[in-house]
């Protein structure tokens, strides 16, 4: 398996920057332009912090290149980290949707190896399926525990982790 450099598509990043900027403007504008009640000001400041955090996270994603190799997954960027597949001890695949029927959502993969930090990637990332597949193989080898939700999400992507079938 050759190493592959993966990035978030420009379209996704622009959409996230737009969301973050919209939130920052909507929270900051009343604080700057109006004489806001202190409780509401606290609420708006909390919103502002949340959107600012999202802006920072989007900027970090923008500057990060993910390298999927046979032995590691490396996040090469300002807050870079490395996950070694043969020491994988955490794997979580979650599905999120903002629609009531839970359709049209996105997946988020969190992987971590012993002593290391977590790497979190969304399904918008190019080559997401390959990363999930490699992480599942690693989980099979290391026996990392998988939750019910993770197993169901892996199955929906056509991936079965041998030795991690539901047991009672």
């Amino acid at each position: 398996m050759n190493s592959a450099g993966l990035r978030y598509p420009q379209k996704t990043l622009v959409a996230d920057y737009t969301r973050a900027a919209t939130g920052v403007v909507l929270c900051a504008a009343p604080l700057l332009l109006l004489d806001v009640n202190r409780w509401l000001a606290a609420l708006l400041l909390a919103g502002l912090a949340l959107f600012a955090l999202f802006l920072v996270r989007t900027a970090l994603r923008h500057r990060t290149r993910y390298v999927l190799g046979p032995d590691t997954l490396c996040a090469d960027g300002p807050a870079g980290t490395l996950v070694e597949w043969n020491r994988l001890d955490r794997l979580k695949l979650s599905y999120f949707s903002t629609k009531r029927d839970r359709s049209d959502g996105w997946m988020q993969l969190s992987v971590g190896s012993t002593g290391g930090r977590l790497i979190k990637v969304d399904s918008a990332l190019e080559g997401f399926h390959d990363i999930v597949e490699r992480a599942a193989q690693a989980a099979e080898t290391t026996g990392a525990p998988l939750s019910d939700a993770t197993r169901a999400n892996l199955r929906s992507m056509g991936i079965v982790v041998v030795g991690q079938e539901e047991t009672v």
Partner: protein, 332 residues
């Protein structure tokens, strides 16, 4: 999760703006305004200055300005905690609603806690003791709760309390604590008076939740993995808690958002019947007199609570059960 929270919060902001605009414009739609009924009273009494007084009041409440300008003024005021003047007694809306809003929030929170605790216990018991006398009793209570309107139950309890027990059920505190500052005695009095309204308002919600939890849990209990677990000799309590209960509990979390508006709208008539000093009776009177600022403020608070309830419910559901729905797309 951060992305999920951001998307949900961004959806909340335009939703609240649209609701606030709709509420404000719809309350103002009927002919006349909040001054009309006051002036009719003055005219009936033969007051010669009635029309001059009407012009004065319309000027005071800003009713001479176009509706959109009044709406923008009201929305701008929200950030300063200034919701304009109420036509009832010409006092600021913020002063009128503060204590009532607090009592309403306390009452609704207790009602929701009552619904969850009671329906969880009874629902689990009814499902695990299907077709036993306990299940029949729980089902009977459920059907009674679903079929009796809340206000009728309130009237019955008022009558029974007064005639058979000599109790005064109305109100949310003893008369000596009304308009008095917060004290331990006042808190105890409010708690004692909360019991009946909480049962009355929470009855139908509890009944519905019992039925839903019972049905979901029965579905899960009949699945093969439970039968296998039982055959392998797993302790019944562990078998129940580990999988079926966790799956069956999702509606509890998903219903938080829907429960809040149901409880609030259901409490309006009950509050009138039981003379509770909550927002319900005041909202009703504000809608009848077209007191736009007061009614729109109440309804905006209900909308805010609903949207926050939905957010909490979605966040909890996303944290508890982040599974894909089969048939939905997994990748953007």
């Amino acid at each position: 999760m951060l992305q999920f929270i951001i998307r949900r919060v961004l959806l909340m902001i335009p939703t609240l703006f649209v609701i606030s605009a709709l509420v404000y414009f719809i309350i103002d739609l009927p002919p006349g305004d909040c001054v009309t009924s006051q002036i009719e009273e003055l005219l009936a009494r033969g007051d010669p200055d009635a029309h001059a007084r009407a012009a004065e009041l319309r000027d005071l409440y800003g009713l001479n300005h176009p509706l959109w300008l009044r709406y923008l003024d009201w929305v701008g005021g929200i950030f300063r905690w200034d919701f304009g003047l109420s036509c009832q007694d010409t006092v600021p809306v913020a002063d009128l609603i503060s204590e009532r809003m607090m009592l309403t929030i306390i009452m609704e929170t207790c009602t929701i806690a009552f619904i969850w605790i009671v329906s969880f216990i009874i629902g689990v018991y009814a499902a695990t003791h299907q077709y036993k006398w306990g299940d029949y009793v729980a089902s009977f209570i459920g059907f009674i709760g679903l079929s009796i309107p809340n206000f009728l139950l309130a009237l019955v309890l008022l009558y029974v309390g007064k005639v058979y027990f000599g109790l005064s059920i109305g109100g949310l505190m003893d008369p000596e604590y009304i308009d008095k500052p917060l004290s331990w005695g006042k808190i105890v009095s409010v708690m004692q008076h909360l019991i009946i309204p909480v049962i009355v308002i929470g009855m139908s919600g509890t009944a519905g939740m019992i039925r839903r939890l019972r049905a979901n849990l029965l579905d899960e209990l009949q699945k093969q993995y439970v039968v296998t677990g039982r055959a392998k000799g797993l302790p019944p309590m562990r078998l129940l808690v580990k999988y079926p209960l966790r799956h069956a509990i999702n509606p509890f979390v998903a219903d938080i958002g829907g429960l809040l508006p149901d409880v609030i709208s259901g409490s309006v008539i009950v509050s009138v019947v039981l003379s509770l000093p909550t927002t319900g009776p005041m909202l009703l009177s504000a809608l009848k007199t077209q007191d736009v600022n007061l009614a729109a403020t109440f309804l905006l608070f209900v909308a805010v609570l609903t949207v926050i309830g939905m957010l909490i419910s979605d966040l909890a559901l996303a944290a508890l059960d982040p599974r894909i729905r089969f048939g939905a797309t997994s990748e953007k």
